[in-house]
Subunit: 458 residues, 4 copies
């Protein structure tokens, strides 16, 4: 896609940039460089390959020269093309791995002596040398940003290079420790936020793309809110952010929320906060989840600041509805799509159907019913097929409403035939819903959604 291509080329990685911490680490590395030079008598630090640097970094005991080597690794890695990066990571997989014999020996010792000492020896044996290597790389300027970037590169390469899985597991282990929620900071983003951070919102927003700075400004107006999580070592990099519209009543469609000329702005006493876009920013932090925590925290912030708010709800895409529907249509035994309907649904082949009053009339009730079935009944294992539904239901939200013509954009048509869902976060029932979902695999939904199934089902 154009978007991710852009990211690939123009913005290869999150950068801690000019933060105080980074300047500090840079000065250490500079000094370490001097140390290296004076030790070796050379004007330039010894030319080494990236891998040689890695071995040197693991064996050094000098702190400052260690930082200089770590920086050389960071700079070296960042200068590599994708292919060379994969090669380098492959070398890390081979050369800094665990020693299987040592593990087995430590295992035997533990079998004979279940002491703490034996256990720690076994623990040490099962930890690849890579983890210490990455801990030391983290001391370089932009160290943490580069490590996050490495994991992104790994995740993209994993399918073709399964041998990298062990490296990915190491990074995941470290990042889970370092991005512990206790260290994250929630910040409000508004028009007083530095442009360097705002432009990242433009780059990272993929749910409803931000078209321009004017569009962004609209989304940060007085009747809008935006919050993001940050890590103190990446002060300029949002990790995840959420966009909210303050409105009256449950919003049913995206266009009015994004409309830049929309006259409602500055609304007094809104009663509803609509979470209309949530974006993870760092591909390299995927699976190190902050999203559920973010929504609930923002609900709390808003409830405190704006007492007029009574309802907290999302306006969410239903991303796999159309592809599921296509499979149903192709399934001759489908209980949901019968012959007549199948014909009607064919009309959707061309996006233009949305322009025809008649087609819309013909499809509305049918699609709402099918979508209700999709969200309430289509399962992947114990849980709904729809990933967005899984996310919010697991968080304890309730499926409140399905909205016809909620997102008539081309993407909206392709994904969900224009439908959008509202999930309501009701603080009083959130834990109960969460439990019902996790333990009993129940999809909590309002009566108006279950009624769509018709025939008194459910």
């Amino acid at each position: 896609m154009a978007k991710s291509d852009l990211i690939e080329e123009k913005a290869p990685a999150p950068q801690a940039g000019s933060s105080r911490l980074n300047r500090f680490l840079n000065s250490v590395a500079d000094a370490g460089l001097d140390l290296l030079r004076s030790t070796t008598g050379a004007k330039r630090p010894p030319k080494r390959t990236l891998l040689q640097h890695c071995h040197a970094l693991l064996s050094t005991t000098g702190e400052a020269s260690g930082t200089a080597i770590a920086r050389a690794i960071v700079e070296g890695y960042r200068a590599l093309e994708t292919e060379a990066r994969i090669e380098f990571l492959g070398a890390l997989a081979r050369e800094f791995d665990v020693d299987a014999d040592a593990i087995l020996a430590a295992g035997d010792s533990y079998r004979n002596d279940r002491s703490l000492k034996s256990l720690l020896a076994l623990s040490a044996a099962v930890e690849p040398a890579r983890q210490e290597l990455f801990r030391r790389i983290n001391t370089a300027p932009d160290g943490i940003a580069t490590i996050v970037e490495m994991r992104r590169d790994l995740r993209r390469a994993l399918d073709d290079h399964p041998e990298l899985a062990a490296v990915e597991a190491d990074l995941r282990h470290l990042l889970i420790s370092w991005f512990n929620r206790g260290f994250l900071e929630l910040r409000r983003i508004d028009w007083n936020t530095p442009a360097a951070i705002l432009e990242k919102l433009i780059r990272y927003e993929t749910v409803h793309a931000i078209e321009s700075w004017e569009d962004l400004h609209r989304r940060l107006d007085s009747d809008r809110r935006c919050f993001a999580f940050f890590h103190p070592a990446l002060p300029d990099e949002p990790l995840i952010f959420v966009e909210i519209a303050l409105v009256r009543g449950l919003a049913s469609a995206i266009p009015p929320l994004l409309d830049r000329l929309n006259g409602e702005r500055g609304l007094r006493d809104p009663d509803t906060a609509i979470f209309y876009s949530i974006n993870n920013c760092q591909e390299g932090l995927k699976g190190i989840s902050f999203g559920d925590f973010l929504i609930k925290q923002v609900v709390l912030e808003l409830a405190r600041d704006l007492p007029s708010l009574k309802t907290f709800a999302t306006l969410s895409p239903i991303p796999k509805f159309r592809s599921w529907l296509t499979r149903e249509m192709q399934n001759p035994d489908s209980a949901l799509v019968s012959g007549e309907n199948r014909a009607a649904l064919q009309a959707m082949e061309n996006d233009a159907w949305i322009e025809s009053h008649e087609t819309r009339e013909a499809l509305e009730a049918l699609l709402l019913r099918l979508c209700a079935a999709y969200l309430l009944e289509a399962r992947q294992g114990d849980h709904p097929v729809d990933p967005v539904a899984r996310f919010h239901l697991r968080n304890g939200a309730r499926l409140e409403r399905i909205n016809w013509l909620g997102d008539p954009s081309s993407k909206g048509l392709r994904q969900s035939a224009s439908l959008l869902a509202n999930y309501v976060y009701d603080l009083d029932s959130i834990e109960r819903n969460h439990e019902a979902y996790v333990v009993d695999h129940k999809v909590i939904a309002s009566a108006q959604v279950t009624r769509l199934l018709g025939n008194g089902r459910r």
Copy 2:
């Protein structure tokens, strides 16, 4: 000692206090509390013991309620007396430990199948459940401070309670990861620093106690410097700090440096920076070393800001000299202390010897020679007996001078018969010295120190 008693009673633990992060985590915990209440229908959260809270925290999947439980554990732990804390930690040692059988089974699997999957299973098996428990406690307000405090409590209790060693090992493992040098921030401390931080310097300074705020002010004057490391999640808690005097020539004694009426202040173009006191602040972070890094970093900062500085050196205590000397004196076979000298040295039994011109004359050359022998030759394994010498030599410093009457305080007399040492940090030789010390166990010293040994020795 009085000092640590004071810490025990009046200041039980570092507190992240009123930081933004803490206020944020508190609001989450408050909300989580509401969630817990609404789930259980109770007005108050269920009364549980600390241990039950721990089990609940490990099994919950709700983020916000998790934070509420974590806070209950933090508050509960802080309210405990020392004995009860030990009991609680003992329970953690038993109830959240590894499952030895599971480890052995995982070890067997790995023996049969050296796949990543088997390795990760074994890694998971050797990690006690406690580690995840502590990671979750970290999400509470004051979580990290409490975890540091737990380690302090453990370290104090270990001698009497060796069964707690496994818990200590877990905490150490986590803290090494979280206090990675890449996350620490160096800050200058001066008279514009908030009083809440300054009073901690007074509390934590143990090398040369700070007598009063006036004394502190003197140490932050324009011809003094002070730097500390901070962790972003403990913004009000110095982890380690160093005090420096900017002077002309190598300082040989402490009293002029601490003298509050000393006229030299505001010295123009000092040529020497004397590091006269380094203090680790957090007993709970002992062994998670920042000290070596701090000194070198501060040398770099000072060299950049004050180009007139040519020499960077310490004025350091020699803490175990007297106790070593006493052993030598009691050793009839001592090669260093012969009969006549032994008699002369008896004079030191009473601190008043320092007042007598004659005794001082009689002892000066003798003590300097013995101290040189102590620092250059007395070994514990491969390394010097003296802990301060070990620290600086390992850092790559050079033992430059031993100063007669450097610290005539009662403590100085008791520790080192008034002697103090200068260690010089010379950026050009620091790495080479470090290597010589680490690899060849060499004590790098100036000619004037080795000459003290006499007889052409060394």
Copy 3:
């Protein structure tokens, strides 16, 4: 007094110190110095007297060299002894004064032509050149601090040097403009405030002296508040500050408020805020009043932050009661002090009277009655004799209570025979009281105070 002596010698003036603005102005001045040098070809700027610098500053048109000259004036003035300063200010009075003939001529022109042009010419003529001189001095680093200091010096010298009155009038005019309330910033002072500002509280507190840093810490505890006004060009200099105790019920005595071991701290839900000390910090800003505004503003801040507060009141000295009383006692015709009482009052000659239960019993009712008469009836022109009463009554407060043994310190006995007054700031009646005081010269007091007069008076 010892205090002001101290200020005189050790702290000759407020210093903007190391603020950003100052560093900036310094760099300009440095550059200007270079310009001056390169213009004149000299290595050092031309040696000139302070007065010559002043003439040069007024005639220069170069901005940067102007700043260099302004700095030379600031530094020169600060280096002068008191006597030399008076001389210099005297020269300003003579050499930069208005031109009387020019004023008369401009007056004649205006008489003939009442145009704006004539008016502006007359305005320009009546403004001494000094005002422009001071405006230019203000561009130097520490410029504003020095100008405030000049006014202090002038005020102290005025009695002996009435010829300086015109200079004082110029400074007053400028400072009223520059310290416009719209530019002032209210800041809360607490234990997180930089020590450099906190030590100024110790220095400037004259109502109830701060004995030590521990004493100061007590006054900034969680059940205490402190607020100050700052000017953006003097970011480290409080202009005026107020100390508040949060308590239950109207406080009647100072000692419990200042008691460092006092167990009440951390009081939950205080209902009363006691303003027990207000201090103007800058002698050079006397008469450029912020005090009334400060109290009301702080009342608003506290009311918003602490909804449990219902009463806002002072616990105030009655500074001139004893001296008034002495005059009454010496007045044989006094209607207030009759023979018997006069004898009883003699007991106060020695401060020890406060130790005697009997004397206290004998004096309590008598002194309360006399004090009520003093506050309610003793006038200087239309207003009360007591300056503190004048201040609070003018602000719209109500005299609420007179407290026996409120301040048994030696100063308290000397000033007011241990009595203290409470003035209540009641937002609902503050403007009405103010009006009654200003227009009708009424002293608004509670019934319990007026009852003290006895005999149904008032």
Copy 4:
């Protein structure tokens, strides 16, 4: 013009916006409102006209209610249409003016008694009541911004309403005092600056319009600099800003500097700083000059930060060259434009001449010569006709070069037939040049410019 129309409609005035100071002043005003209500017993403050509010504000003595009235005036004024504003200002001119008879009486008193008292009385008489009114309006939230706005409105209306000149003079007097250079803050603007400030650069840039956020980003790149002055009471409002390109050699044309795809960025070791755009932001502060000071200060900042810089120069428009040239062409007696040239110059009537190689060839030498004559010899009184030349020459800069095809934009052609000028700020000669310009009316220019005049002239 479109630009200023936009400003008129969408951004009527600088706003201190959500600054701390403003929130503070608002809370005072809110409270004052309550006071007003409780005084009058009314729910809403008394409905008064703006003028009545002004009279009330001048007569009130209550601080808080004063702030409430001041805010009512600010809000009322901002809600007015242009015409109503003029009317209101006209009323201020009439109703709060000086009392001519009082002035004359005070003048007579002064004639008889040239005492300070008489002088101050005369000073008071010549100061219109408006000045105190404005001082009090300044205490409202957005007070200073509104006062700056009033002056803008006045300046626009003066031609049609000469009776407003006295009001303008009052505002000018106050603003000169309040915007004393000693209070201004120089800040660097870069991509980390809040978007709310950056968008103001887009709005205020009129020399070389900023087309988009991408254009702006280019101008804040690592090889660009931008600095602005701010006043502490208007923290979000740049007063004046300057844009700089760091390049090698004296830049001769604008397009490469603004080119967004330009490959030079990140240039190492630039030797020249080109000041290519300076913009005053606040029409209401016109004539309260900061520009000269800004340039010199920025030269100092850059010289310190980037030691590789050797030359500091502008690339400046020559705004009135074409209109002067047109007059010369129409002047049959012009000594500069003879018959043949007049014909050649006709070619410029259509902007397309710039596309024709031949025409360009034909005009280059001629236009350069004429422009040199314009800048060096065309006078308005003692000084050059060209306003930009006047500004830089007065600052002490030297006219260094005239650049053919420097600005081929439509605006550039219309103003100066594509020519641009470089003025060099050379710290060593700046004061000397300034003096030569101010005292002897000399235009300091390089030999290459004077040579353009030809014939050995000059």
